[in-house]
Amino acid sequence: MPVIVKEPKEQVKKPQESFWKRMTRHQLFIPLAALALLVLFNLIADPSFFAVSIKQNSLGNPVLSGNIISVLDNASELVLLAIGMTLVTASSGGQDISVGATMAIAGSVILRMVCGGQVSADSPCMPILLAVLIGIFVSMAFGAFNGALVAYFKIQPMVATLIMFTAGRSIAAWINNNELPIMNDVSFKYAGTFLPGIPVPTPIFITIFMVIVFWALLKFTNLGLYTQAVGINANSSHLNGLNPQMIKLLTYMILGACVAVAGFIRVSRSGSINYSRIAENIEMDAILAVALGGNSLSGGKFNIYGSIIGAYVIQFLTTTLYKYEVPSTALPAYKAVVVIILVVLSAPVVREKLSHMKRTAGKTVKEAT
């Protein structure tokens, strides 16, 4: 009973599923589509959303101003957190919910260093870069603490980082003896506002720099391969010579570094700190950015650019809602609606259905003609 292999059938099949399917299957499809939708909505509703003008800032320098600039500027901290969070998610299959609190710690450390322990300082007590490096170091140490709990004590990431989530802001206040130090020197605010003579907000440059750093890290080291391998199958990674615990710890420390830079940008914007309010609830946005980017929150394969786009989508949405004068108390509810739609659309089940629907629709059209 030999069966005749029907080759042509296969050839017909292939091109049919290719374009739409390949596009919708691509991980970046949902975040990019969401971004495109937001842009489209604003274009139709009020094209002036995209207007960029030149205004005088408080120092009298001409700077760019407009919604689009504010999206790019304000998303900076979130983008940095999303990058680190992606790596942590990939390697450990869980998220660090203490990033907001750790941002407060890093910001507090940096302010303490530049103010030299005074409540109000007019000139930095040490080079700002050195203070930032110390902030990064401290933040990485806290990352190592979280990472060690996750990697060596095998505590679920959310539980392990709950400790710093709870204690972080108190520690931040304690670092400055519960004072609210203010740095008055204008150079301290360069990183959070504008460099003299440059009309583009500095956080945008810092973000670009950090994205390039991580692009290089992923390209010129095995960070990506190792974190994914460990996240997918730690046993197998171990038998291939990797040290899964070490790699998990490393990703938490990398996130720590990202958090410190984000914390620096945040304190640099105002030159001061409010321990209980700084970067409040940002951990949820960071996790959301990772999910919006099409990354599985249970770890394994990741696409860091998805998370970055996800972060911009969230900020774009926030800014759009502000623009339409949604009261800030109602903002989370509006955001939640949009987020639900995006997350449901990016769920594998729905995506499978979508691409299937499109395919059968295409078929019936073909049959009709």
Partner: protein
């Protein structure tokens, strides 16, 4: 439907991106028969089963079941269960963190209230009648793989099914357990249950089956009554060509001469590990193929894991080429030119979501170092070379390795270690759950490696296979090496006697 049939599948088609997994496959299962589904890796057996059980939606064809008018639509495993189709998969798909009883009844209790007492009692009864050494309240993950497999079968059997699918159920069972399972299958057959039996063990097929359906490359080759299809013809149907590979291999063995003198490539003394292996001595020479044999749980895997540094080594010394070396973690072993293909392909071997390419280069990449990744082109070249060399069936090197069939996954892991060019390769059950064609390929590969001067330790539950490939056998029992056989002692009966132990064994 045909007279007496409980299940009819007609013209089943299934496509995956770039792969035609099933093409117009027909399959008929009659009442009270055990029907073997045979084919090589990637022939489409598992896909056909998954279409039947609603795991994959089918792209064409129809399924009919006795007692139901017209074609049935099966969209989920739940539908299949309701239609009277029960399945035991090759890889255990139960929940290791639940108890044995919970696993047996999960998804089958009616209403919202669960009577745990009743469930535990019911489970205990089934376990007892089937002679499965597990307690209902025991956590499943704490049982051996064999017991877990039997629990999965017990679950399926208890579900009062018309069609029972056993997908490689025997690959992790020892002979007695297999016998027990066969007894069970015959009982069910007498009750009129139709059983689909997917296996790679030809002996088992001829022992229990009534009919054979052979698939090849996603297409149907044919359906045969077992008396009409002698083994040699079955193998040639599966491979699609006439050959007698077994004879070839035996000839090869004679040519693989091992130098008895010289310094051993690896020599371990008094090695023991945290996995509970008693101190053992072990050595292997250049170009030698030796084997570790013994029943399940006799400590074969723990032994080689200790050599590779996969478990925490608690005592003992290891010398390589006469020089003492310290192997405390897998990377140390890899740097000394040792490769290890683990027993549990899914749990310890493949990195499922990563591509075939990434899986192949992983070990070599780790040895090369964190800051020196291979370029894409280089990785591509390595992957393509080994995909071709080992004839790995994959749509591309970008395909996630988890979508490959079991045998091809195993080849990917083999490729990974061959790429590191090891001087000593440990293969722990490399042929488990893979088809006869690939088995022969792997055995040939082992002998080829030995002839190139590499040393190989080969672990298998199949004594035939060990006799064909190994020149020396270490026999394990109760986590202890209890004997060593070579030369004329290397016979099936002698091995059996040593494994079984007793007075004549060398204590």
């Amino acid at each position: 439907m045909q007279e007496g049939a409980v299940l009819e599948m007609r013209g089943i088609c299934k496509y995956f991106p770039g792969v035609r997994a099933l093409q117009d496959v027909d399959f008929t299962l009659r009442e009270g028969e055990i029907h073997a589904l045979m084919g090589e890796n990637g022939a489409g057996k598992s896909t056909l089963i998954k279409v039947l059980t609603g795991v994959y939606p089918k792209d064409g064809g129809e399924i009919r079941i006795k007692g139901v008018d017209g074609a049935v639509s099966i969209h989920s495993p739940q539908d299949a269960q309701n239609a009277g189709i029960s399945t035991v998969y090759q890889e255990i798909t139960l929940c290791p963190n639940l108890t044995v009883a919970e696993n047996m009844y999960i998804g089958r209790t009616k209403g919202n209230l669960t009577n745990w007492k009743e469930i535990n009692k019911g489970a205990a009864k089934i376990l007892e009648t089937l002679g499965i050494p597990a307690s209902p309240r025991q956590q499943l993950g704490a049982c051996s793989i064999a017991v877990q497999q039997m629990v999965a079968i017990a679950r399926a059997v208890d579900m009062d099914c018309k069609v029972l699918i056993l997908d490689e159920p025997t690959s992790s069972l020892d002979e007695q357990e297999v016998e027990k399972l066969f007894g069970l299958m015959r009982d069910l057959k007498a009750k009129g249950v139709g059983i689909i039996f997917v296996t790679h063990f030809l002996d088992q097929v001829y022992e229990v089956c009534d009919r054979i359906t052979v698939l090849r490359d996603g297409g149907l080759v044919g359906e045969y009554v077992i008396e009409d299809l002698p083994r040699v013809r079955l193998v040639s149907k599966m491979l699609g060509k006439e050959l007698d590979d077994m004879a070839d291999i035996k000839k090869d063995v004679c040519t693989a001469e091992v130098s008895v003198d010289g310094v051993p490539v690896l020599e371990a003394e008094g090695l023991s590990s945290s996995a509970g292996i008693k101190p053992f001595d072990f050595s292997i020479r250049k170009g030698e193929v030796n084997g570790l044999t013994g029943l399940l749980g006799s400590g074969r895997s723990e032994c080689v894991r200790a050599i590779f540094g996969a478990d925490h080594v608690t005592a003992g010394t290891v010398k390589m080429n006469g020089k003492p070396v310290k192997i405390s973690k897998p990377l140390d072993a890899m740097k000394h030119g040792i490769g290890y293909l683990p027993e549990d392909r899914k749990g310890d071997g493949i990195v499922g979501d990563l591509s075939v390419r990434e899986n192949i280069i992983l070990a070599l990449q780790v040895m090369k170092g964190f800051f020196r990744p291979f370029s894409r082109a280089q990785a591509e070249a390595f992957a393509d070379e080994y995909i071709k060399l080992l004839e790995i069936k994959t749509a591309s090197s970008d395909t996630p390795v988890k979508s490959l069939s079991g045998g091809n996954q195993q080849k990917v892991i083999l490729a990974r270690w061959l790429l590191t060019n090891p001087q000593y390769l440990i293969l722990d059950e490399p042929t488990r759950g893979i088809d006869i064609g690939t088995k022969v390929e792997i055995q040939k590969l082992v002998l080829k490696l030995a002839s190139e001067g590499k040393s190989v330790t080969f672990i298998s539950s199949e004594i035939d296979e060990m006799l064909r490939t190994c020149s020396r056998l270490v026999v394990m029992r109760d986590r202890k090496a209890v004997g060593e056989l070579s030369g004329e002692n290397l016979t099936q009966s002698q091995i059996m006697a040593t494994i079984a132990g007793g007075d004549e064994s060398c204590q």
